[in-house]
Symmetry: D2
Subunit: 312 residues, 4 copies
Amino acid sequence: MIHAPDLQQIVTEIADEMRRRSDRGEVATYIPELARADPAKFGIAVIDAQGRVAMGGDAEEPFSIQSISKVFTLTLALGRVGDRLWRKVGREPSGSAFNSIVQLEYEMGVPRNPFINAGAIAVTDTILSGHKPREALGDILRFMHFVADDTAIVIDETVAASESRTGFRNAALANYMKAFGVLDNPVDYTLGVYFHHCAIAMSCRQLAMAGRFLAHQGKNPSTGFTVVPAERARRINAIMLMCGHYDGSGEFAYRVGLPGKSGVGGGILAIAPDKASIAVWSPGLDDTGNSHLGRIALEALTQRMGWSVFGA
Amino acid sequence: MIHAPDLQQIVTEIADEMRRRSDRGEVATYIPELARADPAKFGIAVIDAQGRVAMGGDAEEPFSIQSISKVFTLTLALGRVGDRLWRKVGREPSGSAFNSIVQLEYEMGVPRNPFINAGAIAVTDTILSGHKPREALGDILRFMHFVADDTAIVIDETVAASESRTGFRNAALANYMKAFGVLDNPVDYTLGVYFHHCAIAMSCRQLAMAGRFLAHQGKNPSTGFTVVPAERARRINAIMLMCGHYDGSGEFAYRVGLPGKSGVGGGILAIAPDKASIAVWSPGLDDTGNSHLGRIALEALTQRMGWSVFGA
Amino acid sequence: MIHAPDLQQIVTEIADEMRRRSDRGEVATYIPELARADPAKFGIAVIDAQGRVAMGGDAEEPFSIQSISKVFTLTLALGRVGDRLWRKVGREPSGSAFNSIVQLEYEMGVPRNPFINAGAIAVTDTILSGHKPREALGDILRFMHFVADDTAIVIDETVAASESRTGFRNAALANYMKAFGVLDNPVDYTLGVYFHHCAIAMSCRQLAMAGRFLAHQGKNPSTGFTVVPAERARRINAIMLMCGHYDGSGEFAYRVGLPGKSGVGGGILAIAPDKASIAVWSPGLDDTGNSHLGRIALEALTQRMGWSVFGA
Amino acid sequence: MIHAPDLQQIVTEIADEMRRRSDRGEVATYIPELARADPAKFGIAVIDAQGRVAMGGDAEEPFSIQSISKVFTLTLALGRVGDRLWRKVGREPSGSAFNSIVQLEYEMGVPRNPFINAGAIAVTDTILSGHKPREALGDILRFMHFVADDTAIVIDETVAASESRTGFRNAALANYMKAFGVLDNPVDYTLGVYFHHCAIAMSCRQLAMAGRFLAHQGKNPSTGFTVVPAERARRINAIMLMCGHYDGSGEFAYRVGLPGKSGVGGGILAIAPDKASIAVWSPGLDDTGNSHLGRIALEALTQRMGWSVFGA
């Protein structure tokens, strides 16, 4: 009889291997809060279908989830407006950098997918939908508490303020979409909510908890609550695989073989469908803006567990 | 006890549903051989891990596989030069049309992936590698015979001649890459081999046979022959999912949830990892150049069989 | 003995011909103030080296000069910072629409020339240079009074307010340049001054007066005041010829053969070097955004007067 | 009484100044024949309305005129098909490099102007017009003999052969236009003629002779022969000013202020309308691909003679 590989042992091994590596990528420097992150940090948390939690390294330390929040705002927006969302944003990989504005001009202000900055701003605009920024942010935070089953998750206001002060390129994207009628709310409102949800701070453990519904047919297997229908969970996973790592999405699919979404804070949420929800964190980024050790750790995990969606 | 869904019954149902649909897309018209295809045709063949073959509609009728051949030339080239191939071609989705030349200029003649035309021409150039076009074509055809376990597969010379006569846009791509030193062989040689391998004619049954190694860890489960290592099979599947349907790849992942590669002749090869190799054919294309009914049939099949890689 | 053509007679003829034409282009509609302009209007004013003023049609009626103001802000900025201006903006035609953002991404936030919107915003930022918007606007208006020798010229505040309310595309351009460090002042300040100087209202006669220094070696021949050195006047004329009509600049040079700058309000300022300063106005635009009858009238004037810079 | 500046004296001074400069740009290296050019060479020839020839430096030494030939093929093509030429090629500056293919994709295979490579290939295709390459080349050469009044001008076959062997990027442009139906003749024929007319060798004196019709209302003032109507000469001058120096056209207009056309062999033909035809040659190029000393010499000449079209 063949035993299943021991998840906690593999996670521990991987955390050890990552701790020893000297190649750690470059920490993002565009705001001081991110620039101060310690490149020596590495955390990993994996939660399987039975709710067993395996952790390694700095898995309990909160970090700025940044673009990973886009998975949850997409889920929330789809819950609000359903397929009408797709009038404002596409579902194709962009073939360009996360903050490129070129494609917006060629495609009349409609961003290619919900995970590039322009697309996530359009999704945020849908959540606002006439409300005040404070209310929309409250909704987003309550949704995070719900999916992670954890009311301790908060927004780091210092990060949000820094992003607002320096976010000219995102302001360019938002104004450009506004010019094409893609945004309904005042540009400042939409940007304000966007900068704030990107500033949510979570630990690997919290993030892996929050991703469980995507691994398990739309349901949180512990609470039993349905977050989305199973088909929608599959579809969000598909978008994560296609577009979750900006212009490194192909590389992530090729090496890791799981749906995932990265953030410039060094976190990655990855989903092994029907098997596990996984979060890794290491602040150093590779040249496509994705966590360098995070990707390497996920590649090791997928191989050792046999979790690639592309075959045994 | 829950019974597995009956594959042949589902395939028969889908073939019936497709026969009754009036929306059939538009047949490609750029060469007379493709323009003559009957839009009423629909075929489907599914081969599972045990080698059971389920077929529906015109599953035994040969059609021009066109770009689907790129999966096999990629496999062959990786077998020849391994990861050195990636010096000449990337692995990221292109975010633009299959025959776009814009990206080539911005990225110094290196195509984004092996499944856009420029990338497939670069792959073909690698297979040529100093040999005569006739020898390279012989190698490709022998490889098709091997993976499909069928020596009856041939090239349609009339189609190849038509492509050569009208392939100015592909000639532009090839000359452009030659200018950047990405192609090693004479442009005419490389284009000649490219036009010919796109003109291979196969039935759905033959194509599903040829794709089996991608579904089963690199091995043909009937013959027992290993075509590629398991990791390479997974990686080719990853590239198919990311890039297999041009600028409709996101849509295909979102709706079907399987790695797949389409051709302008109306065929699609799709892989359900560890479960089945699937080929569909219907000549009418949607506005991204992929088989309209082919995609719809695959969406139905995946849902009914629960085969999406993104979760149950 | 050959008599010089009689300027007033030719101007009267042209005004008559324009009045009779039924092809009048399309009035700009993006703000109500411009949309209300009467397409039947046509005005022309020509002032020669001796100060003789020839007028036809609605030459005394003020209109929104819009982008024509960019000639004067360029002149003012060059007076302030000299050639340092060219660190922030280029001198090459753009090969794209007046409000395109694509080029900014490919060229790191530096606009191609001072007459596309992005370039004019960068020039405006230079004039601001740490001052309050009100002071910068005062400077610009005083400069207009000086060059036109007319203190009656004012800003149409209603137009400025409309532009501010709807100028999202310009806000995108400004934020984009700010992200690249090309703008020094707060985005709102720079945009505020930009929207206001585009809202200056002038008649053809006033505009032709204001352009005289460009026709006469940098000097206003009536007042005797030197506005710029002769070389700078030539260089501003060169930029007008190359870039003054957005993506219709080639057409204007080909047909009219004079340096000129158009505005979306339907005005064009044209310079016949050493001969005359010319202003025309007709609100209907052609498909490159330039005054339809304005260009035709200038073509007729240049031909009849033999004023093309490209030869007799 | 003010004397006109003495042309020969100024030309001699400029040739001396150029000889002493150490900044000479970089010689083109893409074919050995150009790479062998001596960067120390500098020649200048100016022919005024009275036919007086002023020369300096290596004004009698033949060089490869390269893209300067495009002025003459444009003239010949307009003579053949008149304004129908403009169905195949535009008249706007390109805003990109001379050999860019990006714009062709966005504008459906129609090049922006006759002086970028794609445009000149389209013009050459018009001259071919069903004839054999040899006949078209004969026509072009006879036209050069006619406008230069010199039957000694020949094509350098070694240069033409080198260009053919390495001209993959031009082959890409030609095939791309062929795909859009912009070229009528076989791609090889059109490219063959194009590579050959770019390989015409002329001295500065011969080139200045050949340009005289553009300076003098379409007529060669010595022979009295009319080459084109005066309006067409003005219009060709306009296109030269707008597009004659690739993505350095704005810079040339700004500094020199004359219509001109440069070639990668280091030559520039410049026209002072109604005053003179000018040719300069120095093989070192600046970073926009135009003769470094050639441009500097023309700037000096224009200033000292007061010949700028933009004013005294």
